[in-house]
Symmetry: C2
């Protein structure tokens, strides 16, 4: 641990979530509570790009109430980015620049808030200490709606998306049930998850509310014939069916359902969703009228229906990251360690970043029913605690009050740096 | 008014909403409070089809708490239908059947809960009294997310969809703002409204929260060149743009944006959404990375984020329908009559169905900005009161507690009737 007071750097990375700002809140509030050890918290504007270009935000210029409001504001308050550092060997120039910037602003703590790719970046930064002789402690704060980080029981952002998907699929299923006699019999909802089916799995929870539902996971190769038969069985039995399809659902050859070779009037390849493809497929086979929705950003930004458990954990992991740094750790990530399902108990643990970076956690096979179209009781026991509780934002004029920070820049001390 | 106690018929019609059951709750609770005048309330299973096929539900079998729970349950609890009665001249058989069913079950009150088409059906039923000598009082209970009924200031269902759209568009805009530096710069959200742009208009409210937004209305002919220029201007100024597009947005020749002549790999015409079309259009013109969402049923079923004002009005209009019947009215619809915008005040009024049936109310031109891409302060004054207040359902196990009624059938007394 740094023996003298040093500044901290915090940045958000990759796709943002409904609760990544709650982690930011945890980091900044905990740093502020430890002023003897940590000086200012500088946030990177647009993630690591802010560090490389010395585009730092002075979070000390924000009031305590503005920082507190981050807890109930979705999105990334400092801007995020999709930018992965290459290895030290492949791109030494960027690492040298990072060190220059850290030195110039006396940064001794590096908090990086992101998913798998970001854990890799954070891990690389954590190695600067040894490899390049610059003392820095790098702590990763987990975040990803995809819930695909290893070791931690769950990832902040996921619980809220899972809640959004369960609530929305339940509501839309009630709707289609009402309409099924003379109109819509099939409702298809597309959700995120390119590789892992955790988000789609949350749609399976509505089965316990009497809804006939089919879930299509990226982990299960799509079998059109079997799927169409299952859809028909459910419509004949219940009058309707709800399908929750992951954007990553694909055929045996790896081709995504969303890539149907669809072309527009000009012959351009059309980037479509998986939902309309699935819906049209059922229509063509069985003639059922359908409706489909693609939730896209709506699902990961839906702070208004965030899971209270998720918000709490996002905050606690931000808080824990700072505490780990103060204890002298480097190259680690705080984790959620589940103790029991019911009652739900967990503690905050710690993982080595070397074991986190570049590892994806998929749905275990025993979380998916043998036919591949639903979730098992074991999966439900896993999911249910994560969507518990509501954490409503304050509303004004009919919409939530979300904070936009001042994001005051820190004066630059270095020459400009060109991103390549 | 019926001089002796008679039974009531209630049915839900057309697309359901987050609050149509709140109107059902208002009708049934008010009828129960007037037992001296109104016997049982029979609900049509799947709307008017339930009346024609004598498929009636005995709502007296439902507990007071189950009926009360309708107030916070989206969808149509008794089932809805898309079925429009032809004129008396064109299809006397159906009207004769209705009278048979009404007679067999001593029905003197007909409450029909729907939009424009349903108002027409209700109006036709109201004429049975005179035309076919059967004493019945038909009252229409307004409902439509499209907000396109005339005379009434607004329609139950609309306020909640408007709130959903404003909240979701705001949240997703914060998201894209975070990502814009290196990734998504354009977010396109498709909303309902085939003919009228009221729902899309609600997306325009986020402008007052600092979001660069373009709204595409069905009332404004789509001008691709002007639209692309506007999108570019906003992205260059703000770094990103949110587009809220109505499903009914169309070209000068009437062709919907959603009908781009898109064909799948098999050459089948593809039913796509307007959102991916708009998103791809911007991508091709300017190269901006995009995301798009199609809210579809999610928007109209989203009881979890319903407008408190809307829920209250839905209930009051159901209540008012029964009161109007008890006062002896026929062929009328209770309305919301706005008294003032701020503070928002309204009273429940009454309209003649002859003036409601088959009339669509579009967005007035002075609610849309001169450039056709936004809403005016006048429109905002109209919309804002309608999205005020939250009316959260109770949650259990992470999702809302929505009631599924027993829907006990009434014993049939007549021979079967074949729908043609």
């Amino acid at each position: 641990m740094a023996t003298k007071k040093r500044n901290a750097f915090y940045a958000q990375s990759g796709g943002v979530t409904a609760v990544i700002n709650a982690s930011a809140c945890g980091v900044i509030e905990t740093a502020r509570a430890n002023k003897a050890k940590i000086g200012k918290v500088y946030a990177g504007r647009n993630g690591i790009i802010g560090a490389l270009t010395e585009d730092l935000i002075d979070t000390s210029k924000e009031s305590a109430s503005a920082i507190a409001a981050l807890r109930s504001t979705p999105s990334g308050a400092f801007g995020s980015c999709r930018f992965k550092l290459k290895s030290l060997e492949a791109n030494k120039r960027e690492y040298e620049r990072l060190i220059e910037v850290f030195k110039a602003h006396d940064i001794g703590y590096f908090f990086y808030n992101g998913g798998g790719d970001s854990a890799d970046t954070c891990y690389k930064v954590s190695q600067l200490s040894e490899a390049m002789g610059y003392p820095i402690q790098a702590i990763h704060v987990p975040k990803t709606v995809d819930n695909d980080l290893p070791i931690t029981d769950c990832c902040p952002g996921f619980g809220s998306v899972a809640k959004y998907v369960a609530v929305s699929a339940l509501e839309a299923s009630f709707d289609v049930r009402s309409m099924a006699k003379t109109s819509t019999k099939v409702f298809v909802m597309e959700v995120m998850g390119r590789h892992a089916g955790w988000i789609a799995a949350a749609g399976g929870l509505i089965e316990d509310h009497g809804i006939p539902v089919i879930v299509l996971f990226p982990e299960v190769v799509f079998d059109e014939k079997k799927f169409l038969a299952r859809a028909k069985t459910l419509v004949e039995k219940h009058g309707y069916v709800t399908v929750v399809v992951s954007e990553g659902c694909h055929y045996a050859d790896g081709k995504f359902l969303a890539e149907q070779g669809t072309r527009d009037a000009f012959g351009h390849a059309q980037l479509g969703g998986a939902a309309p493809v699935v819906a049209n497929m059922i229509k063509q086979a069985h003639g059922y009228k359908f409706h489909w929705a693609v939730a896209d950003y709506l699902q990961r930004a839906a702070r208004h229906i965030a899971s209270k458990t998720d918000v709490k954990q996002a905050y606690e992991l931000g808080q824990a990251a700072v505490k780990l740094a103060l204890k002298g750790h480097n190259a680690v990530m705080p984790t959620v360690d589940r103790i029991s399902d019911k009652p739900y108990k967990y503690k905050i643990g710690m993982a080595q970043l070397s074991k986190v970076a570049n590892v994806e956690k998929f749905m275990p096979r025993d979380f998916i029913t043998p036919d591949g179209f639903g979730i098992t009781p074991k999966c439900k026991r896993y999911l249910l605690p994560l969507i518990q509780g509501e954490d409503y934002p304050r509303f004004k004029d009919g919409v939530p009050v979300y904070v936009t920070l001042k994001n005051v820049p820190v004066a630059k001390k270095l020459p400009a740096f060109e991103l390549k």
